[in-house]
Amino acid sequence: MTHSLHAIFEERWPTLSHDPRIGTALREWKGTPDGYRFQADGRTLVSPNRPEAEARRQIDKMLPEAAGKDCVLVGHGLGHTCAELLSRGLRSLKLLAPDRALLAEALRNWSQPELLADERFQILAPDQVDAALPEHVEYLELPSWRKAMPERLANLRVKLNRCGSDQLRLRILVVEPIYGGSLPMARSAARALESCGHEVRSLDFSRMEGARDAFAQFGDTHPGGNMIAGEFTRLLARMISIECRHYKPDLVLAMAQSPAIPAVMQELGSAGIRTAFWFVEDYQLLEYWKGIHGAFDFFLTIQKGEFHKRLAEISPRPVRYLPVCADTSFYKPVDWSLADSAPIISFVGAGYHNRERSFLRLLDLPFKVWGSDWRRQSPVYGLLQNEGHRTEVELNRQIFSNSRINLNLHSSSYHDGVDPFGDFVNPRTLEIAACGGFQLCDTRLHLAEMLEPGREIVTFSDTDEMRTLCEEWLEKPEEAKLIAHAGRVRVQTEHGYEHRMKELLELFLLEGEDAFPHARKRGNLSGMDSDPLLAEWLKLHGLTADADLDQALITIRQSEAKLDETGRLLLYLGELRDWAREKGVERAYDRVR
């Protein structure tokens, strides 16, 4: 049987059987040992005593009418659920295994070998999924896997276009930081949420930058004055609270460095508003996560492993991995518009110790550097463009799109070259790829999950390799273009802000359908006609065709002219909308129906 099992795999799923972990497992197969527990991170994924009964119960609940249907099942045990589904007359079943190592483990102890020969059955690893599921296909998730690896399931839902959040229209408040790298991220997140069909409002604190600096300076120059800065943060946090009282969001998404202090976030939580904090920081450099993460429904991080363990020691509140992404609506291939010729090898980023040391190796190559905070005394300073000013994003995307090699070295103040323990991926990695730029990037622990080294990106482990690869890839422009193209496709299909925001919402929805208790379900206004006179009215009042109700109302209220029929109806809609919001009627809309 061992032989035949291996043979079946080789014949039916060669890419899987060639995975050494799976190949070895298949060769070692002896059936399910007594008392065996199939687990992930200590969590049992299938009932050790009555797996058949468990499978029956699950299918009764998830797909009571299975006959003749095509189905994708995410997650697996040792074959019982698949066998039960097929015994009920499914037309086809694709088992989507979220983790290759766990699939190998399951196959090593597989209890249903006959199943593997069933022509209706197919096994896929997550990287073998690259398209949305057709609508008619039933999509099932095993509950034990939802709990065991929620991020992966959320990611798969987005990939397969089976987002529960697509059925909802949420009201979301994005809390921006006053300034810093997470500010554009907050704005891209808000834009993406809106493009996903949600109603989004952003709390813009960037206007407070001057005040913040003044308070900080006061604190620096006056003993005991630091408390003023704390008071200032609390004041801004009260603004979040007041905004929520009026806006009544379903979700508040606070970005790193935003003034979302725990007391206020807990107050929002008590009022039934869901909260999330996206900590797009290196936890080892900035430690304010220790004081805040328990205050949110979800604390989202760009690092996992050790960081998640440390967070769990502080609070049992959910922590999820949500890596950075690229704003693909902006980062796309563009032409070079500067007078100088396009760069050969480029780097965009601030001057850090490891960069200054590493880039010494490239001084004799056609290499240019853009960014701020580079030391004048460093020889690399001679490569610096734009007088060492921080570059505008428009210039960044031109550099990314037109450099023959984009160098990307994650910053470190503690290493001379590549940080051997570096885990998270910086936004620049994905922005370069999104622009269709060829990229040489230092190896990062989480990088391979996002871009496949050798196919979608090229990586180096030390500065020697960095130098060698620069020279090599300058000689292979056509191959570089292929890799750059593959990287761009991957970012467009998996790593845009729209994808990430959907993953975020799916994390909530994995809790259950009531994750957003007041969310409005999207209905269908089929049968509603377009209004024949609106366009004319908007034009007459100097508004563009895509003007919304608020813009129309402002125009009406500023005018003292007699209202015509359209004006009166718009005013009526405005009053009705305000009334519905005051009474909370609009929130009950889906229930009323």
């Binding site: 409005r520 209905g523 269908n524 206004l525 509603m528 209004d531 609106l534 003292e560 005013l571 809309y589």
Partner: protein
């Protein structure tokens, strides 16, 4: 009397719709040949269809309207198309007279939009600014902030918005034969003897419900003196409450429940067959009144007998004497103690009192209304045809009772419902209904008269300023600077009036009505016409102050001449 098409807009709940029916009767009386329609919320349009005087019932579909704005596929273009199509259907050729008895801002825009002629109630000017048109519509809004000083029933306010009340005005609901037959069969099957008493333990909000256990005690006491048959009524959401009440009753008491099992039409038929209703302040109370069935009603929390007592003579309305009653509409009381202030003995006594008048039993004990915890009001129709209340309880009148009556006399006289000469007898009649009086009343009335004098002086100052403006305008070359200065002084005068209104709550009805009058001027553009209107408004305020001062003096004098 030229209106051919009249539309009444009422988006409120069941009880309010029933309370609108006398207005519709009155309109039918004043405009016998007009096409009269009611625009009601779709959820309650079945009630509207029971009003026989209506030619047409139009529906406002709240769900569809709100959905078009908040649906995930929200699209202004489509929402507008939906409302354009609906409003054109409702508007038809336009309505000569629109009476809007809803008080929401969206209804204001709609009322204006649907009308080709006059609008009464909240509306907008052509430029979109909001105002309230018609004296009694303004009075309706005035009541909200002056509940203690209002002694007009909501039904009468509605009627007065429609015109002078007619003798044939009534709460008018007519159930169909099928509903009547079905209920009749049910009552026959119920069997038993004695009066048929309906009991409504539910109400729109939990805080407006008298406790089930108290209802049960009262029913036991009624049964002990006058064997009766009880049917518990209510809506589908009140089934559980009705079952609780049924379970709390002695099994020997002949009682059953139809809560949740009757349509509105069937409930109307059931009320018509009943001898008595015992109820919280609910729509059922008004349905019973529409069928001529007397009631004992319990007004707790926000409910106030003067406002929404059943519009029918001979009903008894119980209201706790607790200081905080009625709750403000803006308050969410965590300890609704007032519910416990009304005792089962009082409810039973009131019920037995009414049953005796209907020929059942021997009535309550003589001291049934000797309670200091509850005010017991009996409804009757005044000579002017409006609902009035007289106290059966022993507790004394307070200042607001008397001042409220003086205001009522003021407004009735102004509307021509009573002559100036009748004001004295009206006051005497009122005072004589009370067995005791508040010894502090004279001082209070004198203080109020002094405040009214101050308000009158401000009104006259306003008149003076307008007179100067008129004089300036009548010249050949009006001076813009001088006009501007006078207008600023007028603004300051109005601010002082507003502060006076806020700081002296007993003047507030006059202040609020004055502000409504001024808001209604905004449409006028000609300065001459504007100043003329302004002068009229100040004059009206001065006159009202003067009359109220006289009323206060009359109240003091009458008391001295003819103690109660």
């Amino acid at each position: 009397m030229s209106a051919r098409r009249i539309l009444v807009v009422n988006f409120t709940r069941m009880g309010d719709l029933v309370q609108t029916s006398p207005l519709i009767c009155g309109l039918r009386h004043h405009y016998p040949d007009a096409h009269i329609a009611l625009l009601a919320a779709k959820a309650f349009s079945t009630v509207a269809r029971l009003i026989p005087e209506l030619d047409e019932v139009l529906e406002w579909d709240q769900d569809a309207s709100v959905a078009s704005l908040f649906n995930g596929q929200y699209n202004l273009d489509q929402a507008l198309a939906l409302h354009r199509s609906w409003s054109r259907r409702v508007r038809g050729d336009g309505w000569d007279l629109v009476i809007n008895v809803t008080h929401s801002r969206d209804s204001a825009v709609l009322a204006h939009h649907l009308a080709t002629g006059e609008v009464r109630g909240i509306s907008i000017h052509a430029d979109g600014s909001q105002h309230v048109e018609h004296h009694w519509s303004r009075y309706f809004f005035c009541v909200t902030g002056n509940r203690a000083l209002n002694q007009f029933n909501l039904v009468d306010i509605y009627r007065l918005i429609g015109g002078k009340p007619g003798p044939g005005d009534r709460l008018s609901l007519k159930p169909g034969m099928d509903a009547t037959r079905k209920i009749s069969n049910h009552i026959d099957a119920f069997g038993g003897a004695g009066p048929l008493i309906l009991v409504q333990p539910g109400a729109s909000k939990d805080n407006r419900r008298w406790p089930v256990s108290a209802f049960a005690k009262a029913m036991h006491k009624i049964q002990a003196s006058c064997p009766a048959r009880f049917v518990i009524v209510g809506g589908p959401s009140e089934r559980e409450l009705a079952a609780d009440l049924l379970n709390a009753l002695d099994p020997e008491i002949p009682a059953n429940t139809l809560a949740g099992d009757t349509s509105i039409e069937e409930l109307t038929a059931l009320c018509a067959m009943a001898d008595l209703l015992v109820s919280n302040d609910t729509g059922t109370l008004h349905i019973a009144a529409s069928q001529g069935t007397p009631s004992v009603s319990l007004f707790v929390a926000t409910a106030l007998p003067w406002e929404t007592g059943p519009w029918m003579p001979g009903c008894l309305i119980l209201h706790p004497t607790i200081e905080c009653a009625p709750c403000s509409h803006h308050v969410n009381c965590p300890h609704v103690m007032c519910r416990d202030w009304i005792e089962p003995e009082t409810v039973a006594g009131a019920s037995l009192h009414l049953l005796e008048s209907l020929g059942y039993g021997h009535g309550p004990t003589e001291d049934w209304c000797d309670t200091d915890k509850t005010r017991i009001w009996e409804s009757f129709l005044s000579p002017s045809g409006l609902l009035d209340l007289k106290p059966l309880h022993a507790t004394s009148a307070d200042a607001d009772d008397h001042l409220g009556r003086l205001y009522r006399i003021l407004w009735e006289a102004e509307a021509g419902l009573i002559t100036q000469a009748q004001t004295v007898s009206e006051w005497q009649g009122w005072v004589n209904r009370w067995s005791q009086d508040d010894c502090q009343l004279d001082t209070l009335l004198e203080q109020t008269a002094a405040d009214l004098s101050a308000m009158r002086e401000l009104a006259e100052a306003g008149m003076e300023l307008v007179a100067q403006i008129e004089q300036e305008l009548s010249g050949n070359a009006p001076d813009a600077d001088r006009l501007s200065a006078w207008l600023e002084q007028i603004q300051r005068t109005d601010d002082r009036l507003f502060r006076m209104e806020l700081s002296r709550p007993r003047l507030r009805p006059l202040g609020v009505m004055f502000r409504f009058d001024k808001e209604s001027m905004r449409q006028d553009s000609e300065m001459t016409e504007l100043s003329h209107r302004m002068k009229e408004i100040y004059l009206l305020l001065a006159k009202r102050c003067k009359r109220m001062i006289a009323h206060c003096a009359m109240a003091v004098t009458q008391k001295e001449l003819e103690p109660a």
